[in-house]
Symmetry: C2
Amino acid sequence: MSPTEVFVNIEQENLIELATAALRGYGISKNDARDASRILVLADMFGVHTHGVSRISSYGERLQVGAIKAQPDIRIERVAAVISRIDGDNGVGPLVGMRALDAAMDLAREFGAGIAFVRNSNHFGPVSSYSYIAAQQGFASMIASNTNTMIAPWGGRDARVGNNPIGLCVPNPDGDPIMLDMALSVAARAKVRRALDRGETIPSTWATDRGGHPTTDPRAALDGFMLAIGGHKGYGLALMMDLLAGLLSGANYLTHVRSWLEAPSDPQNLGHFFLLLDSSRLGPQEWLAERMTDFAAIVHDTPPADPNAPVLLPGEIEMRKFRRAEKEGIMLERKVLDELRTRAARVAV
Amino acid sequence: MSPTEVFVNIEQENLIELATAALRGYGISKNDARDASRILVLADMFGVHTHGVSRISSYGERLQVGAIKAQPDIRIERVAAVISRIDGDNGVGPLVGMRALDAAMDLAREFGAGIAFVRNSNHFGPVSSYSYIAAQQGFASMIASNTNTMIAPWGGRDARVGNNPIGLCVPNPDGDPIMLDMALSVAARAKVRRALDRGETIPSTWATDRGGHPTTDPRAALDGFMLAIGGHKGYGLALMMDLLAGLLSGANYLTHVRSWLEAPSDPQNLGHFFLLLDSSRLGPQEWLAERMTDFAAIVHDTPPADPNAPVLLPGEIEMRKFRRAEKEGIMLERKVLDELRTRAARVAV
């Protein structure tokens, strides 16, 4: 392929190797780097490139100034039979997230359900990656994180709530999981950044400027705050996710969470929440498969408003991209791969 | 007071007595009737009269035709250490809901978290009533139910998803809980019915007519379907709540749930989901109180867009009405009270 091509194809396993090497370039141990890479590469397979290996360079900037610890001492404290509290010791987010997911799955295997409250963490990648790994092992899940503040409370004109992602997922033993992964703003902040990069405007429903006025200018929107879905409803959900992931976890919450841009050398102390449910406790695999397949069929059979746009299930687009990436490899921006290779070249793998 | 007054004031305990007597008039035993009444009266105290004792007459119609069982054999099966599955045996919803809440709280007390999956239930009243009872005992909660289908899938033109309520609540040992209780439509169907009763139009963002076209006519909207918040996001959340409350519980889901109007004599087999978390396992009461009070203060201190409309927390309006109702009694429509009295007069209390 020509070096001027914008997109490059790479196989899953090769991308994990490359991402692992790049993270090792920032001082992370091999096993930890591999676990974190797995989460990020899944994002790229789902087509959610904003949360994939492209994040490694921003993680790297934080690692280099010591704002994220390369060799954290992640501690798991069992505060109740089915609740583990994880202290991420300011490690890289997807690594802390994987440790928390594993802890919650262990509890769910034993007790039917398992919960992990996580503090002293960082941006942990996409929720879908965790949901998918859990679903592969038969677990339904609810996973949330807080973020730095981007959303104004309903009726307010200051960004005091994070655009907190929430994910819910139920496995289908005979097919793909139904998998929702969403932030509570009308649109993702990354989409605003992309519009800025491309010199495009944004719909006026996405965000307001600093003064609280709706804007179509992505730069003004990035200086302002995102709007939540459904007015007071999305605002309310975002708050509740912060209570679960931030406040109850012992992490920072609301305006105590500083953005990486504002405080590049301070630990962010983000929090996460993981609830895992062992679906096999509720009935045999055939029972679950039959119900999930029927559920999907009822939704798919809905007459579409546009005959060319059939009704979809949450996660369906992502799973379609995932299957394709498994077969045909992942299409990534060349500049993202080049950055990883530059970093990876500095370590003896 | 004059018999022509539209609203009448009644004390909490008197309303519970009256609602209990009315439910006994439909053949429900005294203890069961009292437990169910407690849930409904809390709704009236929160000012959510659409989900309060006014529901007893519609429950009663169903009880009279045998579509709800007056004397159900509610069974609690422990399917895992921290998961109970409740079979409501088609009992009245708030009674089944209370039994499920108690079961989940028992588990949470012992293990830190407790889960109840409920099937063979009916309309269970407002989520807030359960959340509030749990919060009083130190439990954080996530509670959901499915309903008959009212929402069209994103991009579809048929109502195949319920307007499933979701509630999240975290207690504050030094103050009111932060308590979200919302359905996933832009507006509640009850609001459309109220507009119809009052001869008013509705905003075009609330619902579509039967053909999938936005409408301002409440009658056309009641024949059509409600729109979910945030387009595909609210649709996705509504689906996931049905998966938790309906599919995983072993209850009906999606179009398998028939409305009371369509199938007045058939059991509805609704499902609910209860997750209870013992907040005391996460830290001492002082720790939680301090964080919750700080959290509330950060939100309340947000500069408001309208100087006369301060920023509020989820549940704040309801808790204000609740405190007032505790002191001054509950204002109820006289016709609702008259219906209860008529029914109650038929039994020896």
